[in-house]
Structure formats: C-alpha cells, structure tokens
C-alpha cells in the first residue's frame, strides 16, 4: 500500500472539515465538521502506524485516544449547544456576537444585515452588558470614561436613525449616579425611551 493514498484522502477530508467549520452557521454542523477533521487525523495516524511498523502500536493507540476525546468533546459541545438554545432560542453562530468588537459590528455589517432582528439582538447585547456591569463588584476605572465606551456605539446602530441623545450619554448620567447597578438600569431606561 502506498502511503500517499491514505495521506491524500486524509488531507482532503481535513480541508472539507475546514470548509465546513468556516462556512456553516448551525452549531451542530460545525461540530460535525470538527469530527471530519478529527477523522482525517485518525486516518493519518493509522496509515503512518502501518508504514512505520511500530511495535508499540503508538499510532493506533493514539487513534483510540483521539476517538475517545472526540466522543467527550461531542458530549460537552452538545451540552453547550443545548444550554445556548435554552437561553437564546437559536444555535446560529452568526447571531452570537456578544463578544465581538463593536467597531467590527458597525463597519463590517452590510446594510441589509442591520435589520430589526439584529437591532433587537443588539438591544439584548446592551442588556447583557448592563447586567454584567451591575453584577460585577469591581468596576475598573472612573464611572463615566472607562465603562461606557464599549457599549456606546451599539444604541446608535440599534436606533438606526440619527439621535443626538446617546452621544453625551456618559457625560450626562456618569457623575449623576454612583451605584453601578442603578447606572446600568438608568441608561437602559433612557435608551429605551429614545428608540
């Protein structure tokens, strides 16, 4: 057996897995593509174990270990996906942008993507940011400058209309209230009123 054959098959399978991970939106399909990549690695391990004729069978034993780890990974991954679905009612990766940079949100979103669905999703982002800030006991920095800047561009895109009110948001309600919880709630009420 030429070793090139399994090596090429495994390289093709790995590339297909890469395409699936990058191009799919459903989280379960992404998990399937990860499985494809792991299987490509397994085929490589078995082929090179046969080629080298290892007396310890390290390639095949490592294949068994990879299979076990893949099973554990799928179990934990599906638990995460189900928890995600319970909390968000979606498993769409493109909609899970809580940790994305806000500048990238504004510059890379095409115009048709800033639809009402996305605007509401960004409202949920603001909610999450406010909740996180209210929960955190240690709020670094001064109240106005450091904490309000990451959430600042979001309401403008959520409004989808020119509104000058959130421009000076941190300057208005920053020094007014001291408690972080009240500050988060106050901004949420205010921005909800402007929209």
């Amino acid at each position: 057996m030429h070793i090139v054959y399994p090596a090429v098959v495994s390289a093709l399978l790995f590339s297909i897995g890469v395409y699936g991970v990058l191009a799919r939106r459903n989280t379960i399909l992404v998990l399937m593509s990860v499985e494809l990549m792991l299987n490509a690695v397994n085929l490589n391990l078995v082929a090179f174990d046969v080629w080298l004729g290892d007396v310890l069978h390290s390639g095949q034993v490592l294949t068994l270990f990879v299979i076990v780890i893949a099973a554990a990974e799928v179990g934990v991954g599906l638990a995460i996906v189900l928890a995600l679905f319970r909390n968000r009612q979606t498993v769409d990766i493109d909609h899970l942008r809580d940790l994305a940079e806000p500048e990238d949100d504004l510059s890379q979103m095409p115009a048709q993507a800033v639809a009402p669905v996305d605007a509401n999703a960004r409202g949920g982002d603001l909610e999450a940011v406010a909740a996180f800030r209210a929960r955190g006991p240690a709020d670094p920095g001064p109240p106005g400058a450091a904490s309000a800047t990451p959430a600042e561009p979001r309401p403008r895109s959520a409004d989808n209309q020119p509104s000058p009110a959130p421009e000076d948001g941190p300057a208005v309600d920053g020094p007014a209230v001291d408690n972080p919880a009240e500050r988060g709630d106050g901004r949420r009420v205010k921005r909800g009123g402007t929209s």
Partner: protein, 214 residues
C-alpha cells in the same frame, strides 16, 4: 520502506479498494458540508464514518475500525441527531445553513487542500509498506494499551468522567451555581434566562425586555 517502490500504474487490489472507500468518504464528507438539510448531513456523516472504518480495515487496523463503528456511527452520530432534534431544527430544506463568508471559506479550504496534498505527495511519494494482516488486531493492541500506554489510558478515563459530569452540569437546569445567586439581584438578567419567549426568537424576547425597561 526504502526498497524498490512498486509502480503507481499497477495498483494492487488493496489499493483499489482503499481508493474506492476513500472516494466514498470524501464524497459523502463533501455532502455533509454542502447539503441543505440538517438531518441529511448527519446521515451522510454516517456514510463517511463507515467508509473510513472500511479504510481502517484495509489498512489492517481491525480494532480501530470496529471502535470507529461502535463509537462514531453508534454514539456520536446518534448524539448529533439528538442535538438536531432538541434544538428544534427544521426537518426539511432550510436556506440559512451557510454563512455569508462561504466564498472565503471555500478559498481557504482549497488553499489548505492544495498545500497539504502537494506537501504530502512530495514528501511521501517513495513511502511504501506491504500490508501484513494481524498487526492491528485486538490482541496486539490490547497488550500495547495495557503495558505501554496504561498511564494515558487512565488519564483518559478521568477525562471522560470529567466530560460526563460537565455535560450533566451544563444540561441540567435545576443546579444553581454561585453565578446564578450572584446575578439574581438584577431582575433583567434573571428574567432573561428563564423567560419563556416564543421559540422564534431573540427578537420578541428583546422587545419584551425593552418594554420591561420602561
């Protein structure tokens, strides 16, 4: 392995069978990542894993082949199908399975395939090894696992236990951790976790939360 390499133009029967199985595996893997129906993707994945098990059999790795059939086809795909059903995925044809960066992903995948295939062909053109049956039987592999690889094997069992407990903790809702009680001071975040919004959406949930803010 460095002796005279047989010609590529006269493949043996093993190589022909391996190439056919590899073609089945690659083709069904392509269908996994391009099909429009979620359930069909899982079923094509079964065919991919089965063809790969056949590849392992041709490569004389019998035990790995049966483990592949048992764990991948038997457990992983069933788990993925459960995941598809529990996330209430549409059974029929759905149009939004592909992301917007499909072209970029195709370019990256083609570049990866080109680089890997070129390097592999260039590096292992002369690699040849006759297949000896029995090298991957359960007897040899078991002796190897339980003599040389005992410590990784035990560590792996601990990892499996940790993954099991982690999956249980993640999927049960009645386990209250420290973060839950910490966040219960905020009514908004508390309600967002348990609010029974309509299954369609984030959108309705977000607006109801905005209204609660008033």
């Amino acid at each position: 392995m460095t002796e005279a390499v047989p010609s590529y133009l006269s493949p043996t029967g093993q190589e022909i069978i391996f190439l056919l199985l590899g073609a089945v595996a690659v083709g069904s893997a392509l269908l996994v990542v391009t099909t429009r129906q979620l359930v069909h993707a899982a079923l094509w994945l079964v065919l991919t894993f089965g063809a790969l098990a056949g590849c392992y059999l041709v490569l004389t790795a019998e035990f790995v082949a049966w483990v592949q059939v048992l764990i991948y086809v038997g457990a992983v795909v069933v788990l993925l199908l459960f995941g598809i059903m529990l996330t209430r995925a549409p059974i029929g044809r759905s149009t939004d399975l592909d992301s917007r960066n499909k072209v970029t992903a195709a370019v990256v995948a083609l570049a990866t395939a080109a680089i890997l295939v070129t390097v592999v062909i260039d590096g292992f053109r002369m690699a040849y090894s006759p297949l000896k049956p029995g090298a991957g039987a359960a007897r040899e592999l078991g002796a190897s696992v339980f003599s040389t690889w005992v410590l990784p094997f035990e560590a792996l069992s601990v990892l499996l236990l940790a993954a099991l407990i982690g999956a249980i903790v993640l999927s049960r809702t009645d386990i209250t951790g420290g973060s839950r009680t910490g966040s219960s001071s905020d009514p908004g975040s508390r309600g967002s976790g348990n609010s029974s919004g309509p299954p369609g959406g984030e959108a309705a949930d977000g607006t109801s939360r905005m209204d609660r803010g008033h």
